[in-house]
Symmetry: C2
Subunit: 203 residues, 2 copies
């Protein structure tokens, strides 16, 4: 019995806490959750913010289609169930990164409120910063960087957000970016300013 207790004590003594991890990094950690239509600029703004923060010595990481869809979530399709599971897993991984002291930026359409709210709920107070990249459907369809709207209009893609599947706008996002009217660098600067104004960039 004594042996077992000792083992437990050792384990707890040596666990590095979240706040110790943040202290090493010199700043708080949180999730910047970018949401918006395809073509709204989520990935571009997120990567630009990432670049700005990194250049200030902030420890960051970006989760987006490039590193999630072909890896962790490669066994998920586009059924309603799989879409929910996609966002659930992203929320859980974002939570792990925040726990590690990292500023994590996620860039996914994440069209449903219930899925985004679940991610918010598993994170601590102030750790989930919802960034609504707001652009009109007309703007996004005009950009159509991957040709997806064209395919959706032609019926080659079913259940495409904004065309034949809904996008549920955030009701109370921490940040709303006007992607119709402003350029990438201005939008990214707004996000960084929010983090400064709200005390995220000091430990």
């Amino acid at each position: 019995m004594a042996e077992q207790k000792a083992t437990n004590v050792t384990w707890h003594d040596h666990t590095v806490t979240k706040s110790e991890r943040q202290k090493l990094k010199g700043h708080k950690s949180a999730v910047l959750w970018f949401t918006g239509l395809s073509g709204a600029g989520k990935s571009t703004v997120a990567n630009t913010v990432d670049h700005l923060l990194h250049s200030k010595g902030i420890h960051t990481y970006v989760l987006d289609g490039d590193n999630i869809r072909m890896g962790l979530n490669k066994n998920l399709g586009f059924s309603a169930e799989d879409r929910a599971e996609n966002i659930r897993r992203i929320g859980e991984v974002a939570k792990l990164f925040a726990d590690s002291g990292t500023f994590v930026l996620t860039a996914f359409i994440s069209p449903y409120r219930v899925d985004r709210d679940r991610a918010r709920q598993i994170l601590g107070e102030g750790e989930f910063i919802e960034v609504y990249v707001n652009a009109s459907l007309a703007t996004c369809e005009g950009r159509d960087p991957k040709g997806l709207y064209k395919k959706a209009r032609a019926g080659e893609i079913k259940g495409f957000t904004g065309i034949d599947d809904p996008y549920e706008e955030p009701l109370k996002p921490e940040i709303t970016l006007d992607s119709d009217g402003k350029g990438i660098d201005d939008l990214a600067a707004e996000v960084v300013q929010y983090l400064k104004d709200n005390g995220y960039l000091s430990a």
Copy 2:
């Protein structure tokens, strides 16, 4: 067409690379994959190594049952398929952490070679460090910190590794720890020495 190309260029210009993330942290990144029987000391050694590395200013994170089973993998059970998926997801998340420049330590029984080898394959050369925490079944069963062996022997748990499910020893682990003969601090020191000897602790 010009508009689309410009968007792509912007995205790429602003992407922070893995090597830039490592440079900010001041060291390389890799996965320390602890494997071994239940009770061998994987979590305890991993957390002790984590503590040692953290105290040297190394940016680390631990993935173990505490933060994975109730979160990312809470929708997985213990069927053969779910066990494989459990380890697959852990490997993918470990890869993301390594990509972020973080030294990540994973502590799961991970009894099957094929599952561990798949994690090794998705990581780059030298990024997967398999740490075999080698303790005899008798030692582990004698420790039985969670009372699981007792339950497995009583038939209350089915498919328990070492009792009625196999543990496949690593064939060429980077590190083998003698958990029968040595104490936790010595084992942890061996892991840190391996990292020093192999150039992992400098950028």
